[in-house]
Amino acid sequence: MSLPVLEARGLTRTYRIAQGLFKPRVELFALANVSFTLSPGRTLGVVGESGCGKSTLARLITLVEPPTAGEFSLDGLPAAGAQGATLRQLRRTVQMVFQDPYGSLNPRKKVASILQEPLKINTTLNPGEREAAAREMMARVGLRPEHYGRYPHMFSGGQRQRIAVARALMLRPKVVVADEPLSALDISIQAQVLNLLMELQESFNLAYLFISHDLSVVRLIADEVLVMYLGRPVEQGARDDIFREPLHPYTRALLASTPRVDPSLRAKPFVLKGEPPSPINPPSGCAFRVRCPHAVPTCAESRPELADVGGRKVACHLAGQV
């Protein structure tokens, strides 16, 4: 295996939230203590419900905002707190594909200028070279040459997502962060875009940070899986281990809640009670304990840290026992 292109250690992001005029501000942990490594050609699937910190993680990795604690490196260069020329250099190595292709493409720009924009800002290529690069990338993502001069509204959702993917790849990044890239698309189109992402990963040797709430998709594309709950990783490990035998009760609940077509694939019916608690005032100890069917008094007293259990990392006091 080659050197990791993305290494994160203890990434944390907190926000200070105003509660009201005369109340003190509180610290909100949007993301706490996330560590992982990602090698070229590999995919890390990040799974969790809304508000679990998935998108905050994407914002940190794409250098949109700096982490409050922890560090990470992109392509061997320390990225946390990078500034100036280093930051500009790093931004080229990581690009993002957003969830909603209807909102992430500028409706006033033609495909041509959407694709050339990253080159204009980051490279010294002349217009002819830029056009050649844009046209080549269009062919790679399955867009026809005549699409070059069209506006985004002239395309279907699947084609727009292809444009978004092409734009992300224009600078030949090493890491692509995809934040729910399929959830705005129809089923038959999802399969097309998923296939495209896998093909591009192989031909450009890309590392994907693939954020999704759809476990079936993650199971298909990811090599490793990171399950998060309320900003903290609860289970992290190789895809096959986690899907074969999920050890954290939350991972199990997620798997059991995913609707399945094949009766044989359905897990034991298990409906999780309640909703995720507010991150402003999280429960003491393990954040999941209020919804957990196995919670014991210890769970309220101390927060379980990630520990090696059964070949992966699990943050649960009862991991391997229930």
């Binding site: 129809d186 089923i187 038959s188 189109i189 399969a191 896998m198 609707p259 399945r260 077509v261 694939l265």
Partner: protein, 350 residues
């Protein structure tokens, strides 16, 4: 088809927009029996929501609705006056919409909005209405309902708002509940809760339910019968069990094959399989093909498909709109598809 009168009968329903140029729903015929869960699946733009809205008379200008029969519990919905229709909507038949955040009125408390339905249809004193509303909130699993009566939609989570929508829909004990993508905007664990809630209410009250969704897993887990729609037409109608094991329409088969769920077992072998995807796009207003609407994307299409649109033929309560419907179990289809072939299947009589 039973001899008894169905709860909802739709025959030859057509909805057109743009002066007849665009057929959103094209000759749709469906029945819903008392106490059954009918799933309607299809991709966006296939007309599944529009069909149900048209049934309830909720399609306004410039849409045009026509049908041979449109009957709810013996009442002809084509003939009735707007006043009579308002008496039925919310009472005999109720609807739960996709986005709870935008379908509730942000200016009124949720308690007020539920009471409004009750007041319109059943009446009663303030106290009675209030008690009934608290009871409803309890039934849909909202904790401390007395307090929640005074909450505004923005103070509740998406899941809680959807529960409020459901409380509003079941307030007058409807005989038919139409749920239009009730779980799409929600997180998986909440999605499961809402689905369980809907199914429990359906069983307890013996309501009929029409579940409109694009999620194959959701229908497979809850519906008794499933109608698959494509470009405004029902292409397949089958009991849920046999539909997912042995789809007869190539579109259904291809759709099921392209589910990531079905690709996962192969992925576990270490390979990076490609999902067998359906090439091309759903036809729109200007590129509606002649003949079978699916033929440009169908791997089995032959000359007849390009000329003649097949009728929905029903045998043993299983309907399929195809000249050469598939036979044989899906397992075989999938095995072939993974061996690098397109989703090839064995057509009947060839």
């Amino acid at each position: 088809m039973s001899d008894a009168v169905s709860l909802l009968e739709i025959d030859n329903l057509t909805v057109t927009f743009a002066g007849g140029a665009f057929r959103a729903v094209d000759g749709l015929s469906l029945t819903v029996e008392e106490g059954e869960v009918l799933g309607i699946v299809g991709e966006s733009g296939c007309g599944k929501s529009v069909a149900m809205l048209a049934t309830l008379g909720l399609i306004g200008y410039p849409g045009r609705v026509s049908a041979s029969t449109l009957r709810l519990a013996g009442q002809d919905l084509l003939e009735i006056s707007p006043r009579q229709r308002r008496r039925i909507l919310g009472k005999e038949v109720a609807m739960v919409f996709q986005e709870p955040m935008s379908s509730l009125n942000p200016c009124f408390t949720v308690g007020y909005q539920i009471m409004e339905t009750l007041r319109t249809h059943e009446g009663g004193t303030r106290k009675e209405l209030r008690n009934r509303t608290v009871e409803l909130l309890q039934q849909v699993g909202i904790p401390s309902p007395e307090k929640r009566l005074r909450a505004f939609p923005h103070q509740l989570s998406g899941g809680m708002n959807q529960r409020v929508m459901i409380a509003m829909a079941i307030a007058c004990n409807p005989r038919l509940l139409i749920a239009d993508e009730p779980t799409t905007a929600l997180d998986v664990t909440i999605q499961k809760q809402i689905l369980e809630l809907l199914l429990n209410l359906q069983r307890e009250r013996g309501m009929a339910m029409v579940l409109i969704t694009h999620n194959m897993g959701v229908v497979a887990e809850s519906a008794h019968r499933v109608a698959v729609m494509y470009a405004g037409q029902v292409v397949e109608l089958q009991p849920s069990g046999s539909l997912f094991n042995a789809p007869r329409h190539p579109y259904t088969a291809a759709l099921l094959n392209s589910l990531p769920e079905r690709g996962a077992p192969v992925a576990a072998l270490g390979a990076r399989p490609r999902l067998p995807s359906i090439s091309g796009l759903v036809p729109g207003q200007f590129d509606r093909p002649g003949g079978c609407l699916f033929h440009p994307r169908c791997v089995l299409a032959h000359t007849r498909c390009t000329l003649e649109n097949p009728a929905l033929e029903t045998v043993d309560a299983k309907g399929v709109r195809c000249h050469t419907p598939l036979t044989g179990p899906l397992a075989g289809v999938w095995a072939e598809a993974t061996s690098g072939q397109p989703a090839a299947v064995i057509p009947e009589g060839q």
